[in-house]
């Protein structure tokens, strides 16, 4: 359990101690730092031809179409327990430079977005758009432990319990 906790804290520790231009490794099997340019695409549009305006306005998963034709889905951002859609949405249909991790697992390949910028721009932007949006939506001053304070997560877990079934008693907290 301690290892898991440290792994979750790792990106924040490294973010203040490492150069700002390099993606931070998480110690995950199959990970590789990857900084590249790509075109931001709506995954459903790219795969099926169903293409609404503005890549679905934040309600669809977005991907990175590399110049070699390879498509990577951006599944995670630098906000805990949050995806990367809101970070990439401003680049919909256009080009972006990204910095993060490609993670290759036997079951699939994914991308974790850590930073992004318009190609040619000097400054990188931290991939924390979900946290900013969450604060705005909830009138909060910060997004710390947003996942425990969010109305939707509280509603679902309040209804179904921490193990997904109200008839089951969760185990005691770990030491």
């Amino acid at each position: 359990m301690a290892r898991h906790f440290l792994l979750l804290l790792l990106p924040f520790v490294l973010a203040v101690s490492a150069p700002s231009h390099a993606a931070q490794k998480w110690g995950i099997d199959g990970e590789m730092t990857a900084q590249f340019e790509a075109r931001v695409v709506d995954m459903l549009c790219e795969l099926s031809g169903d293409c609404p305006e503005n890549c679905g306005g934040g309600k669809r998963q977005l991907g990175l179409l590399r110049d070699d034709g390879r498509l990577l889905m951006a599944v995670k951002s630098n906000t805990l327990f949050a995806g990367a859609t809101l970070d990439l949405l401003p680049y919909c249909g256009g080009r972006v430079e990204v910095d993060g991790l490609i993670i290759t697992h036997p079951s699939m390949v994914i991308y974790m977005l850590q930073k992004h910028r318009k190609p040619g721009a000097e400054d990188w932007i931290q991939a924390t758009a979900f946290a900013k949006d969450w604060k705005k939506r909830n009138g909060a001053t910060d997004a710390k432990r947003w996942f425990r304070r969010d109305p939707q997560t509280k509603d679902v877990i309040g209804t179904y319990g921490k193990v997904g079934r109200p008839d089951l008693v969760p185990p005691p907290a770990a030491e």
């Binding site: 359990m1 898991h4 906790f5 792994l7 979750l8 998480w26 995950i28 099997d29 995954m43 459903l44 790219e46 795969l47 099926s48 031809g49 169903d50 609404p52 679905g56 934040g58 309600k59 669809r60 998963q61 390879r70 498509l71 889905m73 599944v75 995670k76 906000t79 805990l80 327990f81 949050a82 995806g83 990367a84 859609t85 993670i103 697992h105 036997p106 079951s107 699939m108 390949v109 994914i110 974790m112 979900f130 996942f147 969010d150 939707q152 997560t153 679902v156 877990i157 179904y160 319990g161 921490k162 193990v163 997904g164 079934r165 089951l168 969760p170 185990p171 005691p172 907290a173 770990a174």
Partner: protein, 143 residues
């Protein structure tokens, strides 16, 4: 018709053809498996299956991390659509059935080592049946 107009029409027709040709080949399949949080499962940061991971799976789905179905043989299918609903980011209906064992029919699209599934019908929902919390506790952070 002027020559430039014919050329413009030809270009438009070609562009339209390329747009429609971009859609990938589709295979109709039936999948039985557990809805999982794609990030935690792929990274193996913690035990990411069943009731042990239910709470985290709900957090991640609300946070917009893609939801996948893990079939019995370990194959992952990223869900990009459920019937007519094309929301694959923080979709309330998908949040509510996180960690459930389901059977779905759908259109499978394979690309660059990933299976994408456009669900056409949820045929069965058994709820949370993989009671992993009995062995692993609640992941992460205990309670």
């Amino acid at each position: 018709m002027p020559r430039f107009a014919r050329i413009a029409l030809a270009v438009l027709f070609l562009a339209a053809s390329l747009q429609s040709a971009r859609a990938e080949p589709v295979e109709r399949i039936r999948v039985e498996g557990e809805l999982i949080d794609t990030w935690c499962y792929v990274t193996e940061i913690m035990y990411a299956r069943g009731s042990a991971h239910y709470q985290c799976a709900v957090w991640c789905a609300v946070g917009g991390i893609p939801v996948s179905i893990r079939a019995e043989d370990g194959t992952l299918y990223v869900v990009l659509r459920v019937e007519a609903d094309t929301r694959s980011v923080s979709n309330p209906s998908m949040v509510k059935i996180q960690s459930h064992k389901v059977t779905v029919d759908g259109d499978l699209i394979r690309r660059d080592g990933v299976n994408y599934l456009l669900v056409t019908q949820v045929a069965d929902d058994q709820g949370v049946v993989d009671l992993t919390h009995e062995k692993f506790g609640i992941q992460p952070w205990g309670m």
